[in-house]
Amino acid sequence: MFALKVARRYLTSNPAQTVLLVTGVALGVTVFIFITALIEGLAVRLTDQVTANSAHVTLEPPTRLAEILPGDPAVRTEGVALVSTFQRRQIRSWRSTAELITRQPGVSALSPQISGNAFLVKGESVQPVSVTGLEPEGLDAITPITPNLVSGQGALGADGLLIGTQLAEDLGLTAGQPVLLRTDRGGERLLTVRGIYKTGLQSLDSRVAFLSLQTARPLFDLPEGVTNIEIKLDDPGRAREVAEFLAGATGLRATPWQDKNLNLEDALEAQGRTGTLIQIFSLISIIIGVASALVLSAYRRRSEVGIMRAFGISGAFIVAVFMLQGLLIGLAGGLLGCVSGYGLCTFLASLTDAEGNAPLPIAPERGGYVAVLILTTIGAVLASAFPARSASRIDPLEAIQQ
């Protein structure tokens, strides 16, 4: 194609300027890739942190219609099917339910639990805690506790309790010491702190206490049932569909982890918006750069273009010459930017701090390379449209008479 040859010739005729222009585009692309990989990496890291330490699907008894106290004058109760408020919300048939769930493909672990609220009392200090009673052999099924122990050990035993470092500090507790647990069901028992863990998750480390299911039963007045079944999946991304299926199959309320972490979703969305803004600005700067360079080039070459018009070269040909320049610049800058962006991200991802962690949660493989290459190329072609159009409209007489 002759227009392509002319476009190439125009670009190579001033190598310094072209190199500068392509470098500018590549820089914009690098910024785009860096920010994409950073935002994506951050999302992956946050998501991983949450999915690694919490259940992917939680099964609970369905919400009851009427938990309104009869007789409350502010609430009209006619027509509401009243269910005894004395009836505990619990999963009685948890063994068969657990069996059903275990058979589902993609389920990697399961933990029937008794969850409730309580206070830990140590001398003068009282701290509210969220108590989780679970089967001792399934201690690490949902949240890896044993690997995160900083003191003591993970065997719960009959009167054992595991708490986080923050809570231990607040109460001035160390492993082996006794502490009084008082539940919201009125149960009370002196337990022994067997171990102290540190997961890095604020809520786990400061407000949760683990004990065995058997220990929890009398404390929460639940001789048979459990309050919830926590499930872990091979692929956390499938939590929603699995939850939907289990809800249908068991009649229980199934909540995927995303719904329990709406804050996370909000945070990720906000981050995503910031990223999009930076991406848009880097694309705009690419477009402005290419457009201004080509406007200048068209201006410098207007006598040449005018003479082409004089001997009858079509406006479409001139448009093609300039838009192909945009295309070539976009492709070259885009490819170069992809290479340098990947290089930068891989380098930054390889950096580690003193503890061996990556300070920047960059995901080099998620830089949005194809997208940025396509967007940059389209952007550069669009940017060349205006100079191309104005070049094609140069009056040949103007060129001749100068």
């Binding site: 002759f2 010739r9 003479i307 004089a310 009858g312 070269i313 079509s314 406006g315 001749i400 008479q401």
Partner: protein, 236 residues
């Protein structure tokens, strides 16, 4: 002899706001195939304006023009461009070569751009034209590395690339020294004789005018006389 160009009643009035300049006031021009005609007149008499109109680069205020048997007044811009490309050749005072291309590529350009590339036949024709203008050995020189006279000869070869019915030249020797001007003139004369190409050359140079078959003199926007060369260029 068959007619290559027939212009009747060409009027050109430039308007700048309220100010009107009537440059051409009713011009008739006839050119027969194979003629070499000089267009002369004082500076500002409208020679370049007339050439632009006859070369379809400018639309006249009034007048009918027929080139190579085709009425060109009604053509739209696209058709006029295509017509210029296929039927007309241009040589200007400044060579206006494309600096990023070789002599051969410059010559072939008017054929190559519409066709999408330089075909072997185009290359052959471009090289033979360069040979014709005495620059066979400069075919692969970048245009920027040619002398002024050489550039103008390349420009003539370019004007001839698409075998035009009419070559329009506006002071083609105006920018050259005597020797180069002589060469360019010889060349046009040669091409005119041997290829029977029709030339309309605007010039201030008596030598150039003297070597043409006849001259058309513009005075005050009108053709004063078409004659045998007895009218002096300085006549008004």
């Amino acid at each position: 002899m068959s007619s290559v160009l027939q212009a009747r009643g060409v009027v050109m009035t430039f308007r700048n706001g309220d100010e009107e300049t009537e440059v051409l006031r009713g011009i008739d021009v006839d050119l027969a195939a194979g003629e070499l005609v000089a267009l002369v007149g004082a500076s500002g008499s409208g020679k370049s304006t007339l050439l632009s109109i006859l070369g379809l680069l400018l639309r006249p205020t009034a007048g009918d023009i027929e080139i190579a048997g085709q009425r060109v007044d009604d053509l739209n811009e696209k058709a006029r461009a295509a017509f210029r490309n296929q039927r007309l050749g241009f040589v200007f005072q400044f060579h206006h070569l494309l600096p990023d291309f070789t002599a051969m590529e410059n010559v072939a350009f008017p054929a190559a751009a519409p066709a999408g590339g330089i075909s072997p036949e185009m290359r052959k024709r471009a090289l033979s034209l360069l040979d014709r203008v005495g620059l066979a050995d400069r075919a692969n020189f970048p245009a920027t590395r040619l002398s002024g006279g050489q550039k103008q000869r390349v420009a003539i070869a370019r004007a001839l690339m698409n075998r035009p019915d009419l070559v329009i030249a506006d002071e083609p020797t105006g920018n050259l020294d005597l020797r180069s001007a002589g060469q360019v003139l010889d060349l046009m004369g040669e091409v005119n004789r041997e290829d029977r190409a029709t030339f309309l050359i605007c010039t201030h140079d008596e030598h150039v005018a003297a070597r043409c078959d006849r001259r058309i003199q513009l005075v005050d926007g009108r053709v004063q006389a078409e004659g045998d060369g007895s009218i002096s260029l300085t006549d008004r």
